[in-house]
Structures are given as structure tokens and as C-alpha cells.
Amino acid sequence: MIEVTSLKKSFEQIEVLKSIDFTVNKGEVVCLIGPSGSGKTTLLRCLNLLETPDAGTITIGNSTVSFNTILKKREIKELRQYSGMVFQGFHLFPHKTVIENLVTAPITVKKGDKATIQQKSEQLLEKVGMSEHKNKYPDALSGGQQQRAAIARALVMEPEVMLFDEPTSALDPQLVREVLKVIEGLANEGQTMVIVTHEMNFAKRIADKILFMDEGYIVEQGEGNQVITNPQQQRTKEFLSLLEED
């Protein structure tokens, strides 16, 4: 479903991604963990081309883009249609109600039938438990509600892969669980997902594969929750022990 090879990305002089290779199979849930500044978020943003990598290739679905040549607009468009993004800061459109947040993109981009889109959007809101709030503006919602709406908004475009960038980091602790529950529900339905997270217990529970990143490299990766329960690399052990100290 996703194949990333030799991906590199620098900001100014700083090499954020040094050479990244990994694959994600259809239906897999992959969690990216690692210290701040390790490049997890940048890697995720590269998958959606919110950042343009300097070198390497990304394949998602049927679309392969090489960054060793100049990127074309058509390639960006093509690659993006396979993935949906959920941001740390939600980024709902504040001037639109919840339901309008969902229907705007499919109506403008896909030019689909409005009634069908409306119906599908309402089903998705039902799924994330936001039906009763569908006519509210984001400003009137809690962070957890906003994030659940944002998940539904990404899903309505029917992405092959869902990308989550620290989806619960901006939430009050008591709101984290309602968002994680929604994500777990998606995992159980077989939605392919890549999740950047600091919630280790959540990652342990949900991941089919965990990648540990540090200083621009994938230091360690393993099936299931092995990376967390039985780390092999010294740096992974150090990172996990630091978390336990809290």
C-alpha cells in the first residue's frame, strides 16, 4: 500500500530525514514513535506532500512519485488522493459547520452528487459520534469533538491510507480516550493507517508494526508491539525508559 525508499528531507542546513525506507501493507496500522525532532511528523507530512522531500520515492496505492526529478503538480494531486490527513491542531474550517466541513471538499473536488455526499457525511459523523453536533461551528466544540469531526472530514474523501499526526497531543487528558477509541474503531475495520503518536499504550494496543525514529533515521522497526515491549536497540531502550520515568 505504501512503499518509501531512500527518502531524504532537509530544512535549510538541517537534515531532518536522512534516508528512510519502510513499507505499509494494506490494512496495516503503523505507529511512528520517537523523541521530538526525530523527524516523525516530517515523514508523515512528506507522505501527503505537505512537505516536498529532496530525494527518494514514495508509492501510495497505484501512484509512485520520485523526488529525484522536479515534482509536477499532477503528481502531487495524484499521490494526495490516496491519503487523508488528521492534524495535531485539528484545522477544521472555523467558518463552516461540522457537516459543511465534511461536504465541502467532496463537493468542490470530486463534484459528486450532493445528496449522496450529504448522506455519506452523516453516516461518518454517526460513526465518530458527532451526529448531534453536525450543525455546530467548530468553535462551539471541545477539542475531542473537533478532532473526531476532523477524522470524519478526512474519511469522507475515502482515502486508502489515513495519516494521523499526533492526533491527541493537543487534547486535555480526559478527551484523549474518545479520539483514540474512534481511531481504534477504524483499525478494527481494516483501515490502513500511519499514526505518529506519543501514546505508548495506545501504540502497543493498536499497532501491527511500530517504527522507532531518532535523528532522521528509522532506528528500529518490528511487528506488533515488539519495539515497545522488547526493544533491541540501545537508543530505543533509552527513549522508552525516559517515558517510564514520568
Partner: protein
């Protein structure tokens, strides 16, 4: 202090009768003022949107002319610019058939620069996350601009845009120096005839004020409409 106070001839301070009598004449002037103001608001806003977008362009040959234009217009007095248009341009063969048109052109071209800055700053104040969310939903530049960015930028731009509109109304008074018979010019005519400057200019000032109050009323209504998506805590 006391001497100055007791020397004021209160009966000359404001002559209501004169004010009422000359009101129709002043309102005729106001009509011209409003014509210039109305067209100038529209033209300066339209030109300002183009200039503001050009000012943000990635292409230097679009960005720099816009920058220089904005810098010149903001950095020179409107009065000087109106003189250049009306008395200067005929030297190179460009002559305005009507002073009113010259006034509209002068005020529009000048205030477009201020509008451009409002357009630019309000678009830039929409958080980057909004662009990214739209991009991740496969919306292109034009779709993102029209559906996501401009509606939010408009809310931010409303108060400064209405300030510009009020400045436009007041700026039209400068057209009086190129013989446009607008409100201030009319007040000056009556004042020259009656020697009652105080009454005439205060009346003119009050009329400008009323016009700006009406503009402020529309601003409030629009702001309320554009703020409806914010909860009361803001």
C-alpha cells in the same frame, strides 16, 4: 483666560438659521461627495484586491511593481497626487474632462494601496493549518482561496476596510481644491459669502460625521454576520 472667554461673541458661534437655510445647498455638495466616495470605495477595493494578491506573488516581476506602487501611494499625500493628476498630467497631454472624474481616479488609486495592505495582511493572518487542511483534502489553490481562505480573511479585513471607507469619504474633501463642488467646497462658498466660517464648517463636519456613522452601522451589521461562527467567549 477670562478676557478671552468673555470676548467670545456667542451669538456668532453657531447660527442655526444660516445652517438650516444653507442645508439644501450643502446636501447638493454632499451628493457629489457621495458619488466620488461611492465609486472610489468600489474601485479602490477592486484594485486593492488585485494589488494585495500581486504583492504576495512568488514572481518578482509581479510582486515588485505592486510593492513600489503601494509604497509610493502610502508615502505621498493624496492632495499632492490629486494636483499631479489634475494640473500635472495635462502637460503630457492627459486631461480630465471632469474634475469629479479626476477626484474619483485620485482617491481610488491612492486608497487602493491601503486596501491592498489590508487584503494582504488579512489573507496572511489565516492560519497555515487552513491551507494545509484544504490541501490534504485535495483542494487546489483557487478552491482553497475561494472556499476556505477568503471567507475567513474577509472577517479579519472588515474593520480595517471600513476604516478605509471612512477615510475615503473624508478624503473626497481634497477634491475641493481641484474645483469639485462637493460638500467642503459648498460650505466654503457659503462661508465666503456670509463670513460665518464657524457655522458652515461645523455643519459640514457634522454631515461628514453622519455619513461615517451610517458606514459604521453597516460595518457592525456585517461584522455580526461574519462573527456568527465564533462562540461568545471571543
Amino acid at each position: 483666560m477670562f478676557e478671552w472667554f468673555s470676548s467670545i461673541q456667542w451669538e456668532y458661534l453657531y447660527d442655526f438659521e444660516l445652517a438650516i437655510d444653507s442645508l439644501p445647498f450643502l446636501l447638493e455638495g454632499l451628493r457629489i461627495t457621495m458619488i466620488i466616495a461611492f465609486f472610489s470605495m468600489i474601485f479602490s477595493l477592486i484594485l486593492g484586491i488585485f494589488l494585495g494578491v500581486a504583492r504576495m506573488s512568488k514572481l518578482w516581476f509581479i510582486r515588485w511593481p505592486a510593492r513600489i506602487y503601494i509604497s509610493f501611494m502610502r508615502g505621498t499625500p493624496l492632495l499632492v497626487f490629486i494636483f499631479i493628476l489634475y494640473y500635472g498630467l495635462p502637460v503630457i497631454g492627459i486631461e480630465f474632462t471632469s474634475a469629479v472624474v479626476a477626484g474619483i481616479v485620485g482617491v481610488s488609486l491612492n486608497f487602493a494601496a491601503y486596501s491592498a495592505e489590508v487584503v494582504r495582511s488579512s489573507i496572511m493572518s489565516v492560519p497555515r493549518g487552513q491551507w494545509e487542511a484544504a490541501a490534504s483534502l485535495q483542494m487546489n489553490y483557487v478552491q482553497t482561496m475561494t472556499k476556505i481562505i477568503i471567507p475567513q480573511a474577509t472577517r479579519i479585513a472588515l474593520p480595517p476596510t471600513f476604516s478605509i471607507f471612512m477615510d475615503v469619504v473624508k478624503g473626497t474633501s481634497l477634491a475641493s481644491v481641484i474645483t469639485v463642488q462637493e460638500l467642503l467646497y459648498s460650505a466654503r462658498l457659503v462661508s465666503g459669502r456670509t463670513y460665518d466660517s464657524m457655522t458652515m464648517y461645523i455643519t459640514a463636519a457634522l454631515i461628514y460625521w453622519v455619513v461615517c456613522i451610517v458606514i459604521g452601522y453597516f460595518q457592525n451589521r456585517l461584522e455580526k454576520r461574519y462573527n456568527r461562527y465564533l462562540s461568545d467567549t471571543h
